[in-house]
């Protein structure tokens, strides 16, 4: 399996609202902890090391540097 780069979230706007909403009443520290936990939970769900490495590379790419990721186009 490779990293999914096409839209894959059903109800994308609803998901984003929920993600932002989850930290509405939190301090910055609490919100950061929530995001860190979320990363770990999702990473465990994915499991596939190659996919995780691709995702880390994608997240690390500088804006405009996305072309460095094979197959990834904005």
């Amino acid at each position: 399996m490779s990293l999914i780069r096409e839209p894959n979230i059903a109800d994308a706007d609803g998901f984003y609202e929920e993600l932002v909403g989850a930290q509405r009443d939190l301090t910055d520290e609490e919100a950061e902890m929530l995001l860190a936990k979320l990363v770990l939970i999702l990473a465990n769900h994915v499991g596939d090391r190659a996919v995780l490495s691709d995702a880390i590379r994608m997240a690390s790419a500088k804006p405009g540097g996305a072309a460095m990721i094979p197959g990834y186009a904005v």
């Binding site: 950061e32 902890m33 860190a36 936990k37 990363v39 770990l40 939970i41 465990n44």
Partner: protein
């Protein structure tokens, strides 16, 4: 301090070279009578090679040093005759607990695989280990242990090494065909040879307190991240023998180590940790920093580095002494065969190949633990803390908690001494892997596979083999037949080695698998034996 142990004082003996006016030549000289140097001397003695061991002190390791010995080193020491003693005296633990801030996050049971002679690990003070090794060396009659002998110069010649040795009675020179440098992380030998020793140095300081508990306390390993009694840092507690407990406090990079070491500062810290009613006495307190680095080559001609002189790791995961003794296990049989002229010097290049590979694996593991325990940035701490918070309820996160990973041997999967499989096998015993132990019987007596493998080449044959041994030059591989020589009553040996009838394993003198086949073929076996000796030509015999 130090009330539970009396340090032996070994006698200094004047070396015969002093005043003799001639330089003597020895086959093997070892610098350093620590666990690695002494194990090297013992392994050489097992192979009939006399050694001279030079050490600048006259006692065993002082203070808090290595504590935890894992199964593979215990198996090596068992082969060398001291494993049972270390395992019996050592403290075994199975339950570990991880705390984060005020709470117990989770407990775990190591649940080591059953049916191995040696336990997954034991804790024992280094001075006891060294004492047992010194006594074992004396019994061989082949180890010339010279205390208060400090090597002040090492010069390499084409086919030997010249050492200059300083003693209480003066300075003398000696020659060694081969020199094994087991002189520790600050190895003078390495410096004198100009060998590079590079890696990462960690700024964090750690305070070790060895304390004697006066009341019973559970034999468990406890690890705290950011506890209320030591905010922002980590603390480790585990047990050694004589009711001595090792407590390891992370101090951070900027702490005043001298101040932290004072009993008036250490004692309240320990009370805060164990409870104010716990009675204990301080046995030893020291502060250390560490580095993760390795020598560029384990072999400099006729000088061979082993133990901390070759690789320095963080203490997390107990990889220092544990990997050092595996260096020796790898080196001794190769050196013995080269000394006897039974294998070319090139065999010793495989010592670097295999043990540098293992050192890099250990350094990787040790650095990962260090980075988890001492996060280097705000966000790496955030991720670490997120793992710990999740670990309370989520088993997946426990797998990410890294307070040190148990030291297990690194298989030499890509070693040039291996012969690749030409058939399909299941299980873990692929070429380059250390042999798993298994219970076996001989007649009515119960024993263990590793004890029957001994320390020469063995052909472990599942079913009758057509010969009793196979030779290549001066080297012979003895056939050990499962079913007649040793009986696999419980079927564990067969299961661990995928030992279908006809299967044959070629096992090295350090009890690593070199090759395996589904049928006995003398030509194949001889080719594998030749490869395992780094001999590229046909049999000289």
């Amino acid at each position: 301090m130090l009330k539970t142990y009396t340090y032996p004082e070994f006698p200094y003996v004047r070396s015969p070279e002093l005043g003799e006016g001639k330089v003597r030549r020895y086959p093997v000289v070892i610098i350093g009578a620590g666990p690695i140097g002494l194990s090297a001397a013992l392994d050489c003695a097992r192979r009939g090679i006399a050694t001279v061991v030079l050490d600048d002190s006259n006692t065993v390791s002082v203070g808090s040093r290595a504590v935890c010995y894992a199964k593979r080193p215990l198996e090596i020491w068992d082969r060398l005759g001291v494993g049972e003693r270390v395992a019996e005296q050592g403290v075994s633990w199975k339950v570990g607990k991880v705390f984060f801030r005020d709470d117990l996050v989770y407990s775990f049971d190591l649940l080591p695989e059953a049916e191995h002679k040696m336990p997954a690990m034991v804790n024992l003070q280094q001075y006891y280990l060294e004492q047992h090794l010194v006594e074992a060396c004396a019994k061989t009659g082949l180890v010339d242990l010279r205390w208060k002998h400090r090597v002040i110069n090492v010069v390499r010649a084409a086919d030997h090494v010249v050492l200059t040795v300083d003693t209480p009675d003066g300075v003398f020179r000696m020659q060694a065909d081969w020199l094994i440098a087991c002189d520790g992380a600050n190895s003078d030998t390495r410096r004198m040879l100009g060998a590079k020793f590079t890696g990462q140095f960690f700024q964090d300081q750690f305070l070790i307190a060895d304390v004697v508990m006066k009341a019973a306390f559970p034999t468990e390993r406890w690890f705290w991240f950011d506890p209320p009694f030591h905010r922002g840092q980590s603390v480790l507690l585990h047990k050694q023998c004589d009711n001595v407990w090792r407590i390891d406090f992370q101090l951070g990079a900027n702490a005043d180590a001298e101040e932290a070491k004072k009993p008036e500062n250490v004692i309240p810290r320990i009370h805060a940790m164990l409870g104010k009613d716990i009675e204990f006495e301080l046995e030893w307190v020291s502060v250390y920093q560490f580095a993760c680095r390795r020598v560029d080559n384990f072999r400099y001609g006729r000088v061979l580095f082993a133990g901390d002189s070759a690789h320095q790791v963080s203490p997390f995961g107990a990889r220092g002494a544990n990997t050092g003794v595996q260096d020796v296990d790898n080196l001794a049989w190769k050196l013995a065969l080269v000394l006897k002229g039974a294998a070319p010097e090139a065999l010793l290049d495989s010592y670097h190949e295999e043990r540098a590979f293992a050192a890099d694996d250990n350094l990787l593991n040790s650095t990962r633990s260090t980075d988890f325990i001492t996060p280097k940035s705000r966000v790496s701490r955030l991720l670490r803390d997120a793992v710990l918070e999740l670990a309370a309820d989520q088993p997946f996160a426990r797998r990410l908690v890294n307070s040190g990973r148990l030291s297990t041997p690194t298989p030499y999967l890509h070693s040039s001494l291996n012969t690749a499989d030409d058939a399909v096998f299941t299980g873990a015993m692929q070429p380059g892997t250390p042999c798993a132990d298994a219970p076996v019987k001989v007649g009515k007596s119960r024993g263990w596979l590793l004890g029957h493998l001994g320390d020469g080449f063995v052909l472990l044959s599942f079913g009758k083999a057509p010969v009793e041994e196979l030779r290549f030059g001066q080297v012979s591989a003895r056939v050990l037949t499962v079913g007649t020589d040793i009986v696999d009553e419980a079927g564990i040996l067969k299961q661990r080695y995928d030992g279908q009838p006809g299967t044959v394993y070629l096992i090295r003198p350090d009890q690593y698998v070199a090759a395996r086949w589904r049928a006995f073929d003398a030509d194949n076996i001889q080719a594998a034996l030749r490869r395992c000796l780094a001999a590229c030509t046909r049999s000289p015999a």
